[in-house]
Amino acid sequence: MDTTQGTPAMMDDTLTLPRAADGAPRIDCRNIKVFYGEAQAIHDVSMTFPDRAVTALIGPSGCGKSTFLRCLNRMNDTIENCRVEGEILMDGENINDEDVDPVLLRSRVGMVFQKPNPFPKSIYDNIAYGPRIHGLANGREDLDAIVEKSLRRAGLWEEVKDRLTAPGTSLSGGQQQRLCIARAIAVQPEVILMDEPCSALDPIATARIEELIDELRNRYCIVIVTHSMQQAARVSQRTAFFHLGNLVEMGDTNQIFTNPREKRTEDYITGRFG
């Protein structure tokens, strides 16, 4: 399943990011269990995410795929009475450790949400927000460069370069979502999590985002939750099927969609439930 074919030439890149050795997993999850109060939402899930590839999490509503995704940048910390057990290793370090600062972790693991959620600030300030709070830019010119590069990578630069001071909320839904992706990229993450990023968008905007994901996978480890099996098949190289809080099957996307090992996976993919 080599996946380097057909990607457009990337722009000049001066950001140097730490890399896992090619083929080595970027994230290694071991025995993850998630509880909301008494109720267990995730049952003992172990899986790995390869670097520079897109992994899709699919499954029927309520199967725990979004909850699992939110473990990867400890966003579940912000939900009261939510408890996560198990180890999640990034660069050999367990991010669930007491002494890992979620603030620093989240600067390494970006996230894009279901509904586009730009801040009620200008387009420029939306992108500059992350670099500013993390002190990534030395001076105005540097910040300008980061903003431009992030917008270029998100394929939004040409559309907004003349109105960077316009509010982010004035953009169309698809543009807003690309703005949110640019905002996530601006803090130079290693991993990008996407929680159904196209579910609020029309087919044309969806196609643009999917193109973008395909370009981004050359640099990042991307994990995407999606309800659309066509989308999973189009953008991902690896696919994991969740059902009732369990990881049912995980494998190369081609194999999952053409030759699933599990009966439940086959039933879901062929539309018999969910």
Binding site: T78, M111, N117, P120
Partner: protein, 471 residues
């Protein structure tokens, strides 16, 4: 007989009659509609209940109108007829004397206690009762006829395809419209009367002198320069907002972003109790606790300054009532207005925005400072404006704790007076309504109304704009 009719408790009787006519008409209409339902082969347009309501409306609406006319005109009608029949000796009474005589007749008639009075008075009272009896009887007969006629007319119109529902729905809409209209009309009436009396005032005192004059002495001399009052109002509202804005806003942020649901469930109602304390209570708190404390502190400050040679005479006025005392307590009073509204708008900031900030690695305080508060800012500003208009219009605290000296002084320990305080002192006690002294209160009221209205309008517009953004 007529005299006894004149003593009927017409108010209760009318209400009872309307209720009886209404329910009787309702059942008659419904029964008739149900019969139609059985006998007809086609579908009824409206449910039987609507036919009932339809008949009831015909039975009650004209009756209610007549009852209202009775309430307004019956007494006048009786009196004017009685005046015409009075002996000629009454002609030399002035209109005021005549009215007060007739009023005592009415009182005597109401209690039937005219025994012991002179014969003329007794005769007039009896005649009054007779006339009143005539009016009452006429009204009751008219009511009965109207109700019966209404029921008869409405009953005849009931058909299977009669659109009773549409009629009733329109009628309901009209009733609701009338109720809303009462509120609007009242507001308009208040504004118009304010305007009218203010115009009378401005015929005697020029508006320019009123708005820019610096000497106010309405009670004793005719000096109507209201600038010191505007200054006092502004000063005290400013002190109040200096207290209420930070405390209210920060407690709102604590409640909505940091407090656990348990703490929130406790703190929020307690904070809102502040809004329920009568302002009189705040007033004597300000007068008896805060003002003396401020005075003591100011005197100590003066003495210390003199002792260390920093001043040769007292710097602060240190008066027993002061702008600072009134402002501080008023600030505490408006805290819940700021905190409760701000809390609502902060809660209305979508969770997705907080998630976005957290996902970028923002800390909690960064998220609050840079994302949540800016997003809620229009609503917070609106909350502050509403609190300001509340502070400007507040009366009781300043009446008790701010003092009565109309002066322009930046010293917060000196006593100041406000628009509301002056209105109170102008309108209490002996007043004549054509006196510029009294009329000036209306002009002050008009200024107060315009200022608070402006604040409210701006605040509501800001809130509306903010709502459009997130819905």
């Amino acid at each position: 007989m007529l005299q006894q009719l004149g003593q009927l408790p017409m108010g209760w009787l009318l209400i009872a009659l309307i209720a009886v006519f209404g329910s009787a008409a309702f059942f008659m209409g419904r029964v008739r509609a149900e019969r139609l339902l059985v006998s007809t082969t086609s579908r009824m347009h409206s449910r039987p209940n609507y036919h009932g309501y339809y008949v009831a409306m015909w039975a009650t609406v004209p009756v209610v109108l007549v009852a209202m006319a009775y309430a307004i005109f019956a007494e006048d009608l009786t009196r004017s007829q009685l005046t015409r029949e009075l002996p000629s000796s009454f002609a030399r009474l002035s209109p005021v004397e005549l009215q007060s005589y007739l009023e005592s007749v009415r009182m005597a008639a109401g209690t039937a206690a005219s025994a012991g009075a002179d014969r003329v008075f007794q005769a007039i009272t009896n005649r009054y009762l007779e006339l009143r009896g005539l009016v009452n009887t006429g009204t009751l007969v008219l009511l009965g006829l109207l109700a019966a006629g209404g029921i008869f007319f409405a009953q005849r119109r009931l058909q299977p395809n009669f659109r009773a529902r549409a009629f009733v729905e329109n009628g309901m809409q009209f009733v609701l419209f009338l109720c809303a209209g009462v509120a609007v009309a009242t507001t308009a009436g208040i504004v118009l009367s304010l305007l009218y009396e203010s115009l009378l005032f401005f015929q005697k005192v020029s508006a320019w002198d009123f708005l820019t004059g610096t000497r106010w002495n309405a009670q004793t001399e005719a000096e109507f320069g209201a600038l010191p009052l505007f200054f006092g109002t502004f000063m005290i509202a400013l002190i109040a907002m200096l207290v209420a804005a930070p405390i209210g806003l920060f407690s709102a942020i604590f409640l909505s972003e940091y407090a656990s649901p348990r703490a929130r469930a406790w703190i929020k109602p307690i904070l809102e109790i502040l809004a329920g304390i009568p302002t009189v209570v705040y007033g004597f708190f300000a007068l008896l606790v805060v003002a003396p404390g401020i005075r003591t502190a100011a005197i100590w400050f003066n003495e210390t300054a003199i002792r260390f040679g920093l001043a040769s005479e007292p710097i602060l006025a240190a008066q027993p009532t002061s702008a600072l005392a009134a402002g501080l307590v008023m600030g505490i009073m408006v805290i819940p207005f700021v905190s409760s509204l701000s809390d609502d708008v902060i809660n209305a900031v979508p969770q997705t925005l907080r998630d976005a900030a957290y996902a970028l690695g923002a800390t909690k305080s960064e998220t609050v400072k840079q994302v949540v508060v800016p997003a809620a800012l229009p609503g917070i500003i609106a909350a502050l404006l509403l609190a300001v208009s509340r502070a400007i219009g507040e009366t009781m605290i300043v009446v008790m704790a701010a003092g009565k000296s109309a002066r322009i002084s930046m010293d917060p320990t000196s006593d100041l007076t406000t628009i509301t305080v002056q209105i109170v002192s102008l309108m209490t006690g002996e007043t004549g309504f054509d006196d510029p002294k009294t009329l000036s209160a209306f002009a002050l009221g008009l200024v107060l109304f315009i200022v608070t209205l402006a604040f409210n309008v701006v605040a509501l517009r800001v809130v509306k704009k903010y709502r459009e953004k997130y819905d």
